[in-house]
């Protein structure tokens, strides 16, 4: 089936495989995941609030309900068929640009994440960049432009406040987030995400998996909390706090443009979960049954992808769960937590691990 690809020049082969992987990841994994993530959010939220949640939509024109698993399709149809209303007072160019700028970076982050070991001869990562993590942070920081532009484009009070808040929040927490992963790279000695997973193979002290969470717990805590802030999730959902700012930056949006913000937000959460799994939870590895070595069979390849998605699901559910646990932070508390707690804490953390690594390696050298 893939013979014709092997006859192409190496450059062409890479391009073709990358295209296949992009399309596969986007349409077979990310988009269905986003739609069912929204569904999961609604169901889990309902369960936590003693409700049932959407359980009606099944296969159209039949009585089959399938626990409401047809809901995402119904939501999509609704989003597309709704009137795309553009208020007269908006700044039109930015109004169009903002949803795209939210969605595109969210998808782009996924390019560097190794979501499996190998499938056949192909590494299961779209772009195995040497600067993987730098790329991620670069792209993630683009995400803020979508929100800020949306706030500016809407040209009304609440969206504007939402945009301002998001810029301040995202910038402050990105700093903490970026610094929280520095010890990871000091320890691993590489910025490539595949190498980071490679470093996490094997076991620690004989029984624990050799995941970085056990070596760098504080890095993980800072990263996790910053990830909540970066994805605008409660308790840090100040840019779109429903109760204060109506819906913040996306107040004026409707129909598919709103759906794009929504998809962007959920894709961001998926990307953040994937990053956490990659950086701190060993990616596609499991420390037993040889599952920490790259797969040699097709089945093994799929199993690794399954392990990766399984680990991701844990964090994705955590994102939903925490929403119903903690109240929203006040703006000054948010800034206080970001600048006065996390930034110094992250710096101290870097310093601690730097000293630790220097002490252990120089000791080994002597």
């Amino acid at each position: 089936m893939f013979d014709w690809i092997n006859n192409l020049s190496p450059g062409m082969q890479t391009a073709v495989w990358a295209t296949i992987k992009i399309l596969g990841v986007l349409f077979l994994a990310v988009l269905p995941m986003v739609s069912y993530y929204v569904m999961a959010e609604r169901r889990i939220s309902a369960w936590i609030q003693d409700r049932v949640g959407p359980n009606r939509v099944g296969i159209p024109l039949t009585k089959i309900k399938l626990f409401g698993l047809g809901q995402p399709a119904a939501d999509a149809v609704k989003a597309i068929l709704k009137e795309d209303f553009m208020p007269a007072h908006v700044r039109k160019v930015y109004f169009w640009l903002a949803p795209m700028l939210t969605l595109i970076p969210a998808f782009m982050v996924l390019a560097v994440i190794p979501f499996g070991s190998t499938l056949g001869a192909q590494k299961m990562v779209i772009a195995d960049l040497n600067v993987g993590i730098l790329y991620t942070f670069g792209i993630v920081s683009l995400g803020v432009y979508g929100i800020v532009l949306a706030g500016y484009a809407a040209n009304s009070k609440y969206p504007f406040l939402g945009g301002i808040r998001s810029s301040a929040q995202l910038v402050s927490y990105e700093l903490a987030m970026g610094m929280s992963v520095v010890p990871v790279f000091m320890l691993v000695g590489d910025l490539n995400l595949s190498s980071i997973i490679g470093y996490q193979q094997g076991t620690l002290l004989g029984f624990l998996p050799n995941w970085l969470i056990f070596k760098l717990p504080f890095c993980f805590i800072i990263f996790l909390i910053s990830a909540f802030a970066e994805t605008n999730r409660l308790p840090f959902d100040l840019p779109e706090s429903e109760t204060e700012l109506v819906a913040g930056y996306n107040t004026e949006y409707s129909s598919m443009k709103f759906a794009m913000f929504f998809m962007g937000e959920y894709t961001n959460m998926i990307a953040a979960s994937a990053m956490m799994v990659t950086l701190f939870f060993g990616g596609w590895t499991l420390p037993f049954a040889g599952l920490d070595q790259p797969a040699t069979t097709i089945m093994g390849g799929f199993l690794h992808i399954g392990i990766f998605i399984g680990k991701m699901l844990f964090f994705m559910v955590l994102f939903i769960w925490v929403r119903w646990m903690l109240p929203r932070f006040r703006y000054d508390q948010l800034m206080d937590l970001g600048w006065r707690r996390f930034v110094p804490f992250a710096l101290a953390n870097i310093l601690f691990y730097a000293v630790y690594i220097w002490a252990t390696t120089s000791g080994a050298a002597n």
Binding site: W47, I48, D50, R51, M325
Partner: protein, 187 residues
Amino acid sequence: MIVKRPELSWWERIYLPAILGGFKVTGKHFYRTVFQRKSVTMQYPEQKWTVPEGYRGAPYLVKDPDGNTKCVSCQLCEFVCPPKAIKITPPGPDGQVADRVNAEKMPKEFEINMLRCIFCGFCQEVCPEEAIFLQKDYSLTGLSRGEMIYNKEKLLNLGGVHNGPIKKWEHKLKEAEEQESFPVKQN
């Protein structure tokens, strides 16, 4: 009164107790809903709530135990109705006679516009004949405005039979019969 503002301890200030408490509360609710199936909401059209006694639902006309129309077309309810939802057409001088023995008349037509009705219960309160009652129907639907104007026949069918303890007309009838054979006691 001065309320003391408690100082948070270091343990409390690192948010961990709040997070653990949050997990506990949400986990409990999650377990309750998912595993014990104790959601507080109900699957409405399939599952319905029991309407409590004394509930003020839609007003319907009732029949007496003999199946006669109780309404005597006095129009008090029409006058008292705050949103003017009731419209009674009296039989007129040569109209239909009442179903009931001894009753003077009954309405030729009795309409309640359920789109106007506010379920206040004044009609029930004012009715001297106990002929109209607010019953337990709360979900009134129709495909047009015309459909929502309930006529006498429909109201009587929906209202059913009222078995009140006070049988005013039976009593009146007995009295009237006694009048016929007056003086009753001749010793």
